[in-house]
């Protein structure tokens, strides 16, 4: 590769090097992962904001069909909410076990978290199934389209979080609580608690406010 000389008598590489910081400094492994992951979560937050706005705008259009008051089963939603809350604190316990270097305790708490996550998904899918079976699928009205999109997107996040959780359990099981695995567990911790924050919005705006409409 021939690099043409520049008027300043610098080779191309030197010129590039003088403008850009090409050399990796001795950053510790995973430097700024936390901030980067947080910014990813914030972009996710914007996606949910769009879906909440869509639900807010369309959520009152029932197209002559049933509304939230008759469709939503609040005791079931309360149960679902408690599953997610429990999974948050059990994930917290696994982080505490991780910080004190207890591999088995970390894995056990992660497994319990997974069970709560799966219970949440099961309840949500049951709810979706009942809605669709009774002719209130996403195609029924604008209200139901936006409902399924918003709540379904949250459910998808929980699904991928659960897959990620299983992946990390395998990682920790095979390689132990290495620095890299700890970093991954911390990222998933942010992700998992963040989903709980989104769910606060879902149960408040979609289920509770919907029932009040």
């Amino acid at each position: 590769m021939s690099t043409p000389k520049t008027p300043l008598n610098k080779s191309g590489d030197e010129l590039v090097a003088s403008y850009y910081d090409l050399h990796e400094h001795a950053h510790p492994d995973g430097y700024s992962t936390n901030l980067g992951f947080w910014i990813y979560l914030m972009s996710d937050c914007l996606i949910f904001a769009m879906l909440f706005a869509t639900f807010g705008v369309l959520g009152g259009n029932y197209a002559g069909g049933e509304g939230p008051r008759t469709l939503f089963n609040l005791p079931l939603v309360a149960l679902n909410t408690s599953m997610l809350l429990f999974s948050s604190i059990t994930y917290g316990f696994s982080m505490i076990a991780m910080q004190s270097g207890k591999k088995n305790a970390t894995l056990i708490w992660l497994f319990i978290t997974l069970l709560f996550g799966l219970a949440f998904l099961t309840i949500e899918l049951t709810e979706f199934h009942e809605l669709i079976e009774s002719g209130n699928g996403p195609q029924r009205s604008a209200f139901l389209s936006s409902f399924f999109t918003l709540v379904g997107t949250h459910g998808l996040h929980v699904t991928f979080g659960s897959i990620w959780l299983v992946t990390l359990m395998v990682q920790v099981g095979r390689f132990g609580l290495t620095a890299a695995n700890q970093r991954r567990l911390q990222c998933l911790s942010l992700f998992w608690h963040f989903l709980d924050v989104v769910w606060i919005g879902v149960f408040t705006f979609v289920y509770l406010m919907g029932t009040l409409r």
Binding site: N34, A63, F93, I96, R183
Partner: protein, 128 residues
Amino acid sequence: MADHSHHNDHGHGDHGHDSGFHASMKDYVIGFVLSVILTAIPFWLVMTGALHSPAATGLVIMGFAAVQIVVHMVYFLHMSPKVEGGQNLLALIFTLIIVMIVLSGSMWVMFHLNQNMMPMPATMDGMG
């Protein structure tokens, strides 16, 4: 708790990769108890209709949601100005501003559109 035992090699001064969020049992328990209370009350209010006014109930449960989100941010997500030199917090505040604009803007615009584009006296139900 041996917090810093496994982060010995901070090659780069202050901004080590562990970023300072060290969970403590106390944080999680406080966060959990507050969350249970802040979740139970809105559900109870809506399910029993204790306030007798949907508008008032709506405002109250929105207040509870806002407080609970802050509780989660502080006790579970360990948000504080200290983490990553406050950059996480700045990103969060920026996002919240955008979220507020998106939500309030959409609702405001669409509410007025609905008002201005409903010339027919008949209900719009069934036209979808």
